[in-house]
């Protein structure tokens, strides 16, 4: 909300500068987003000297003056009584622009030419004072530009008003708040008694008083719609509103002054009396923004006997709006239910300054006050000689505010303070409609504009705010001692992170969204959780796998010249399941590029499937019962389409499928322009792991006797899987065999087509003694015989 410092001072004799004000407002809970110093809202006005004052030949109340602007003398007709020879005055010469955009031209007033205008403070938009012209400080040099000499005349603060404080969305509201905080009484102007109505008021019926608790209205005849005077235009411009014409400007002025949205109808365009009702489905209205809206039965409208004429609390209708031609008007000042207005505004996707205030809650008390002040202003600014005003209609069903009963000790208990009864009273009194002692408790009746005050907690906040949060002491919580605990899922996540980092992986954070395009690139075409209101195409779906994010990251880093990539991410994945979402915590990794970038290392060695498999095995070291299965033929899973169907393994636990590790599918690799890389990926279900519990490791004794190793090299079909060879070597179990390691795998020169040469290192040992050479030799012979029998292995010599 834009708050004009000058305007605020009209309600409250602040006594502090705009800068100080900006520093104090946050103490009350209102941050100041920006401060803007403003110069006067006019130009072309210069400092002049009145050389002579003569009576106007054709008008008693006008004078004919000659004003010197330092270089030229101007004949000016003036209507002010206080004009006198020798005065220094603001002279708006021909061409000057006054607040509201009004440009001065040569004019004839009662037959006499006037080449300018001597201005009042009010006409220049510098203040409220309207009694005659501004006789200025004589120190200003004649002929100087007044706007320049004055410099900054106002300061506009952009104050952030939280949704709970709609009462502060106005200058009066904020002044009230500051009055209670700074202990400065508000300026009050005596309520003028309006004359009795001389014409009947348009009838208004409210069908649903809950939707419209108060509706105040008044009819006018004999209006003159014209530009607003300078002071009014300047005020609106200061807070960022465009002056339109006097009647609309008056309503906008009250919106900003009291926070009461109002609407003026052209009474000649209304057909019969008004009714506040919910729209009939399909009813249409063209609003002031020239757009047509199709209403639903949840939209509240103001309708005449034929049609909706305004969207209640949101925007008036174009066809019944006040125009320059309007002679008769009906002025609405109502209170609408916040929920109803918000629903209407959301249904129509239409917002306005009015709906903003109504959906936060306006002051039903202000509805009548605003109508009253508006009427006074209309009398002053929009009147033809035959202005006629009706009495007021007031459909009021606002419930009386509920008082809050609370003791000072309850308030102190919430805050941890020890405020005395006297402080509680003096602090809460200024913001109450009524504060009285009822037994040991205070009975606080909130004013009509404080709909947010309903509980002792609300009053505790007021007490803290108005005395300052700094008054509350610092204390450490006297909570019942209870040890804190962690969550298995969280400790697991941290351990997984730690292990992957120690394996050389860097952690990525990707967004949980995936575009249709990326999903298609990753061959993930069906079964995605879709976002109803994505910000952009990139936010169309929730990710079913973490891998697309890592692929994006790999692409980016390769573009940036990275060679070796080891990336991982922990995060949620989402898959639709009936009317719900299956949300799973996963860990995914990606690796590619040279195995080592060191000058020492052999060239051409690149990270491959076995590095990915090794990383996964290391990560899962200690988890019992993990099995590897070929991906092909396994039960399908969400991220499968990203994996090479043959070049990947499924990881399985007794309790379910843990994940997949393998090569990237060539089609996916091509989509990310990585077909020339050997991209290895894995993804694991951490929720499944979190459910497991492995016993803490226990010491296992090892033999004190030296062991023996033997390398065996043999030829075997390339199609023979290594794990079947290893199984053969192990079976039947030989307790002397301590280890099997593949040391070399070779095909090519010297090895027949279709065969591979494998060298396997066998380790033997016993816990009770050193093995004899002959025993080891015999064991190796047995193993070779098994390999030969089962796999046709031929020993290489």
């Amino acid at each position: 909300m834009r708050i004009s410092y000058n305007w605020l001072k009209e309600h409250l004799p602040l006594g502090i500068s705009a800068e100080e004000l900006a520093e104090r407002l946050p103490l009350l809970g209102f941050s100041v987003a920006a401060m803007e110093h403003q110069g006067p809202g006019f130009s072309g006005v210069i400092v002049g000297k009145v050389l002579s004052v003569d009576k106007h030949p054709n008008a008693d109340r006008l004078s004919l003056c000659v004003v010197d602007d330092g270089t030229q003398k101007h004949p000016v007709v003036c209507g002010a009584k206080n004009v006198a020879v020798g005065q220094t005055v603001p002279l708006a010469r021909v061409g000057a622009i006054l607040p509201g955009g009004f440009q001065l031209t040569k004019s004839k007033i009662r037959g006499v030419e006037s080449h300018g205008m001597i201005c009042s403070v009010r006409e220049l938009g510098l203040g409220e004072e309207a009694d005659g012209i501004w006789a200025m400080d004589t120190a200003l040099p004649v002929g100087s530009d007044l706007a320049k000499s004055l410099g900054q005349t106002d300061c506009v603060l952009d104050v952030e008003i939280t949704p709970n404080r709609p009462d502060c969305l106005s200058h009066l509201g904020l002044a009230r708040e500051l009055s209670a905080f700074l202990h400065i009484p508000l300026k009050t102007s005596p309520q003028k008694k309006l004359p009795e109505g001389t014409i009947p008021c348009l009838d208004v019926q409210v069908q649903d008083p809950k939707a419209c608790p108060r509706y105040v209205g008044r009819s006018f005849e004999g209006l003159r719609i014209a530009a607003s005077p300078g002071w009014l235009a300047a005020k609106l411009e200061a807070v960022g509103l465009r002056p339109i014409h006097n009647l609309v400007d008056i309503t906008n002025f009250l919106l900003m002054d009291l926070g009461q949205p109002m609407h003026a109808f052209d009474a000649d365009k209304l057909e019969g009396g008004l009714v506040v009702r919910f729209a009939r489905p399909g009813e249409k209205i063209i609003a002031l923004d020239d757009k047509q809206y199709t209403l639903t039965e949840r939209c509240l409208v103001i309708a005449d006997q034929k049609k909706p004429v305004a969207i209640a609390g949101v925007m008036g209708g174009r066809d019944t709006a006040v125009t320059q031609m309007t002679k008769r008007a009906f002025l609405e000042s109502a209170t609408f239910d916040p929920t109803v207005v918000r629903r209407t505004s959301q249904a129509l996707r239409l917002k306005s300054d009015s709906s903003y205030r109504f959906e936060r809650g306006t002051d039903p008390g202000a509805a009548q006050a605003a109508s009253q002040i508006a009427t006074e202003l209309i009398q002053r600014l929009c009147a033809t000689p035959d202005l006629k005003i009706s009495g007021t209609i007031d459909r009021d069903s606002v419930p009386a505010p509920k008082p809050i009963d609370v003791t000072s000790s309850r308030l102190n208990a919430i805050l941890g303070t020890s405020f005395s009864e006297a402080i509680v009273e003096s602090t809460l009194k200024p913001i109450s409609a009524q504060l009285e002692k009822s037994g040991p408790a205070w009975r606080f009746t909130p004013p009509s504009y404080r709909r947010d005050l309903a509980t002792p907690w609300d009053l505790a906040e007021e007490l803290a705010r108005l005395t300052g949060y700094d008054q509350i002491p610092y204390r450490e919580t006297p909570i019942v001692l209870k040890s804190s605990s962690d969550l298995p899922s969280q400790t697991l996540a941290d351990k997984v992170r730690g292990r992957l980092v120690s394996l050389g992986f860097s952690e990525a954070y990707n967004l949980d969204f995936i575009s249709d395009k990326l999903a298609a690139q990753a061959r993930l075409s069906c079964g995605l959780v879709r976002v109803k209101n994505p910000i952009s195409e990139d936010y169309a779906n929730m990710r079913p796998t973490l891998l697309t994010g890592l692929l994006q990251n790999a692409r980016l880093n390769l573009n940036n010249g990275a060679q070796t990539l080891r990336l991982f991410e922990l995060g949620k994945t989402y898959v639709p399941r009936a009317k719900e979402v299956a949300e799973t915590t996963r860990a995914a990794g990606l690796l590619l590029g040279p195995a080592a970038s060191h000058w020492k290392s052999s060239r051409g060695q690149r990270l491959d499937f076995y590095d990915a498999k090794g990383a996964v095995e290391e990560l899962l070291a200690g988890v019992a019962g993990i099995g590897f299965l070929p991906l092909s033929g396994a039960e399908p899973m969400g991220a499968d389409p990203l994996f090479h169907p043959v070049g990947a393994l499924r990881l399985r636990l007794p309790s379910g499928i843990l994940g997949t590790v393998g090569l990237l599918h060539p089609t996916v690799a091509r989509a990310w322009e990585m077909e020339r890389e050997e991209v290895c990926i894995f993804e694991l279900d951490l929720d499944l792991l979190a459910g497991l519990h492995a016993p803490a490791p226990r010491f296992a004794p090892f033999s004190v006797f030296p062991g023996s190793t033997r390398d065996i090299s043999f030829l075997v079909d390339t199609a023979t899987p290594y794990d079947s060879l290893a199984a053969t070597i192990r079976q039947p179990s030989d307790t002397q065999l301590k280890g099997i390691d593949l040391v070399d795998k070779f095909t090519g020169k010297g090895v027949p087509q279709g065969k591979q040469s494998l060298t396997i290192r066998l380790s033997f040992g016993r816990d009770d003694r050193t093995l004899q050479d002959a025993e080891v030799t015999a064991a190796v012979e047995t193993i070779l015989a098994k390999l030969s029998r089962k796999h046709g292995a031929v020993l290489r010599t």
């Binding site: 946050p26 009350l28 809970g29 939280t162 949704p163 709970n164 629903r343 208990a413 919430i414 805050l415 941890g416 303070t417 907690w457 609300d458 505790a460 803290a464 705010r465 949060y469 700094d470 610092y474 204390r475 450490e476 919580t477 006297p478 909570i479 209870k482 804190s484 962690d486 969280q490 941290d494 992957l500 980092v501 394996l503 050389g504 860097s506 952690e507 990525a508 954070y509 949980d512 969204f513 959780v529 976002v531 109803k532 209101n533 994505p534 910000i535 936010y539 980016l556 880093n557 940036n560 995060g571 949620k572 989402y574 009317k579 719900e580 979402v581 949300e583 080592a596 060191h598 000058w599």
Partner: protein, 350 residues
């Protein structure tokens, strides 16, 4: 033993002794010579073994000589070995082929994401202060994300949190970690103290200071007799642990639908210690988090009696703290996953 035998033995000893010359042998030859003479079947060894067959008298006569010969062999071999090793060491000290200035061979080492590091540090501190871990789903119900937190449907307070909704599924992406508070209170009885760290979503345009995805850590304490003063004391302790013992705190009124009274919590600027700098916009204070006393409507929503229990809640943005601690100029960098960014942040060893 006959005289002839004795003389035979004496010749053998003489021959062995005269053959003892290790001066020209290299290490391999020396070892071969050692095996040949002193090994298990070496000549000197055999000779020593043969002494057992002699009479006591004979043994007394020749034994010392044979022993002396053995010692002589041992000494000679040891001396030569020492000579050779000294020479070899001297050579290897001279002829080293090593450019010490060549770059090191770095083992691959990964990094935790700076947000993980920040999140872990904050939660470590709060754990030490007695807060337990809690977590909840990222896809949430309207009830947990809004209604139970005193944010009714069609209320202007919802404007504070623009929300992602799902298609055809009546769920949303949580806009804050506060629904975890609700889930915790629904499943546990007070007293309790929990922290809920995690990812949240806001439907807003992305720029240097806004992201549609970001992270929060939220804390909640419920017990009898907890007051705003306890909130202030706890958060002061926390902020001193995060930003250093000289950190000052400041509480200003604010509005959150689920707390009353509500506050925004500021720490004295860690860059200028409060004297004013561009980072704190010359105010000396940096906004760190939102906080307040749990709103009675929230307690009612989870079946706690607000007249019996009271509590406070606080929440902070992890990115914001990370930005302050690490000097990251643009929030989007956290989600760029550019290794040139990720590799910069390491947990300090000291």
């Amino acid at each position: 033993m006959s005289a002839a035998d004795l003389s035979e033995l004496g010749k053998k000893l003489d021959a062995l002794e005269s053959g003892l010359d290790t001066a020209q042998l290299d290490l391999n030859a020396l070892e071969a010579f050692r095996v040949q003479s002193l090994g298990r079947k070496g000549e000197v060894t055999e000779l020593l073994k043969s002494l057992k067959e002699l009479s006591l008298e004979d043994r007394r006569a020749v034994g010392p000589r044979v022993q002396a010969l053995k010692t002589k062999f041992e000494d000679s071999i040891a001396r030569r070995r020492a000579e050779l090793e000294t020479a070899a060491d001297a050579a290897s000290l001279q002829n080293i082929d090593l450019d010490l200035s060549l770059p090191a061979s770095a083992p691959p080492r990964g990094r935790l994401h700076p947000l993980t590091q920040t999140l872990q540090e904050i939660s470590r501190i709060l754990s030490l202060m007695g807060f337990s871990w809690a977590e909840g789903p990222l896809v949430e119900t309207e009830r947990h994300n809004f209604e139970a937190l005193n944010i009714p449907e069609h209320h202007a307070a919802r404007d504070l949190q623009d929300t992602f909704y799902l298609q055809d599924i009546p769920l949303l992406l949580r806009t804050h970690t506060s629904p975890v508070q609700i889930r915790t209170m629904e499943s546990q009885q007070p007293p309790l103290r929990v922290i809920c760290p995690g990812r949240v979503f806001r439907h807003e345009a992305v720029d240097a200071t806004h992201s549609a995805v970001f992270h929060q850590i939220e804390g909640l304490a419920v017990d009898k007799g907890i007051s705003f003063a306890d909130l202030k004391g706890t958060l002061e302790t926390f902020l001193k642990k995060v930003f250093g013992p000289r950190t000052k705190t400041r509480f200003l009124p604010s509005y959150y639908p689920f707390t009353e009274p509500s506050a925004d919590v500021y720490a004295s600027c860690i860059f200028c210690s409060g004297s004013g700098c561009p980072i704190c916009k010359q105010s000396g204070w940096i906004e760190i988090m939102g906080a307040g006393m749990v709103h009675p409507n929230v307690f009612k929503a989870v079946g706690y009696d607000p007249e019996l229990w009271s509590g406070f809640a606080f929440g902070m943005g992890v990115e914001r703290i990370a930005i302050l601690r690490l000097g990251v100029p643009d929030m989007r960098l956290f989600f760029s996953n550019d290794l040139r960014f990720l590799k910069q942040f390491d947990e300090n060893l000291v």
